[in-house]
């Protein structure tokens, strides 16, 4: 990685085909080397260690751990709830982005800030926040603590910003002329939305959905106080991994972690593909 040779790495869909990047100089080559060493020590080697540890027991050991009754239940709950939450986010996130871009009213800035709150708020505080409205002391009189709805709600809270923030800039740049033309040709609003607007938003929605799904699948902090972490009922994958670590069983922790890492990796590949497709088109 510290090579200073000028190997041209320009695949077909590179970011800026028009302007070639500079070849590495001695200083920038050294910088890249240092950065790569740090990145490897911090991210790549530790993540590789998870995969290696999980594979030490062979395929049978891995499969046995992952399909263990309790583990399988946590994975089903985690992935199922994450999919459901992502679905809600696709609708609500697009809707919120729409209102933020196309509508104008007093207090819109406040909504903008609210959207980012789940991103900046510590996850343990997020759990406490939800608990204060939907927990035992709820002023609404609903108590969903320690149920599967709590898992759903926590995921919904922490993934709120993703689709809004990916769709918003695309929507803001959309040319209103095509919509006006469609409307003047007699297209109903629903048709205009489906035929004109939605196709341009789809890559952004897909990218946001992928991020939101990955975030939900790995969520931990907001559930600690909210879901009770009851085995077979409200225990999610991250909690399962943590209890394996605490029981000094790193092998099974690593096996479940590999499943989560596979999800993250799939999301990253998907994002890369989407990004490249959009770049090529626009």
């Amino acid at each position: 990685m510290t090579s200073t040779t000028l190997v041209p790495d320009r695949p077909a869909g590179d970011r800026r085909p028009a302007r070639a990047g500079l070849p590495l100089t001695r200083v920038s080559g050294l910088g890249l080397g240092v950065a790569m060493v740090w990145f490897s020590l911090l991210v790549l080697i530790p993540l590789a260690a998870v995969v290696v540890t999980a594979s030490e027991g062979g395929w049978g050991g891995f499969w046995g751990t992952v399909t263990n009754e309790q583990t399988a239940a946590t994975l089903r709950l985690t992935v199922g709830t994450a999919l459901l939450v992502t679905l809600v986010n696709v609708v609500m996130g697009t809707l919120i982005a729409w209102v933020l871009v196309r509508d104008h009213f007093a207090g819109k800035r406040a909504l903008e800030v609210l959207i980012d709150v789940p991103f900046a708020l510590p996850t343990i505080v997020a759990g406490l926040v939800l608990l204060s409205l939907y927990g035992p002391d709820s002023p609404l009189g609903v108590n969903i603590a320690n149920t599967r709805i709590a898992v759903f709600l926590a995921f919904l809270f922490v993934t709120l910003p993703f689709i809004v923030r990916t769709v918003q800039p695309v929507l803001a740049e959309l040319d209103p002329e095509a919509e006006e033309a469609a409307a003047s040709l007699g297209a109903s609003r629903l048709v205009t939305f489906r035929r004109i607007i939605l196709p341009s938003l789809t890559p952004a929605i897909a990218a946001g959905a992928a991020l939101s799904f990955a975030r939900a699948v790995g969520e931990y902090g907001s559930l600690v106080l909210l879901s009770g972490n009851l085995p077979m009922r409200t225990e999610v994958a991250s909690v399962r991994i943590l209890s394996s670590i605490e029981n000094d069983n790193p092998d099974s922790a690593a096996a479940v972690a590999v499943v989560l890492l596979a999800v993250s990796l799939a999301v990253i590949v998907l994002l890369d593909v989407i990004q490249r497709r959009v770049m090529r088109r626009g």
Binding site: F39, M92, A120, E180, S264
Partner: protein, 278 residues
Amino acid sequence: MADSSIAAPTPVGRRPGRHVLRAVVVAYLFFLVAWPLYLVGRNAFADGLTSFQDILTDPDVTHALQLTVVIAVVAVVINTVFGVGISILLVRYDFPAKRALNALLDMPLSVSPIVVGLALILVYGGRDGWFGPTLEAAGIQIIFAVPGMVMATVFVALPLVIREVVPVLQEVGDEQEQAARSLGANAWQTFRRITLPSIKWGVIYGVVLSLARSLGEFGAVKVVSGNVLGDTRTATLVVEEKYLNFDKGGAYATAFLLALVAVACIIVVSVLRPKEER
């Protein structure tokens, strides 16, 4: 949404349906974010200021708050230097495997914090990690100590600076840098006089976002910290411990402080950002 009349196309955003949409969005955000957030504030002040006095005079809590700030600041400095450097390399230079690196840099955002902690333990754990025993023999303890907590925090906030700086760098282009270089400026002068001022705002947003994320990291830090009272406990761990020990006042007060910082960070970014875009 029900209105599909085609008789009189009104300008976009001036149709009756927008009130419905607006109401739905406002209600959704009110129930999901605004009201719960307000209640935490109210619960924190339920007994006036006593909860705050209690936590701020508790040496374990003040130590945790100090430790949180120290870890966050160190992590932000590391991520800023690394982030700005790698952004410049990614945007301005060509090297092998650039695309793979670009994609991998986003990985920390989608990895579960618990997996981050596990990964660090497997490599740096003192007992049977890959490097841990060697490092510990040399007198360097990483896991269950502050260095591990810094690493976990750096890991989870890694992409934030990069994601803010890369688009700005692409936007400003490199004409000015080329001009500076052709006039005889060396790499450092070019960076300090030309590149840094032009990406200043991107860096500032990245720093603020990383700071918010670093102060609030919970899962990854919990795994690698060992959560030793008065030693390796951070503010977020205090919230959990207080709540589980039925000290709700203390939990809400600490949570309120953390939420306050987080919201302040967002407001800073949202106030600064449009100014620059205008």
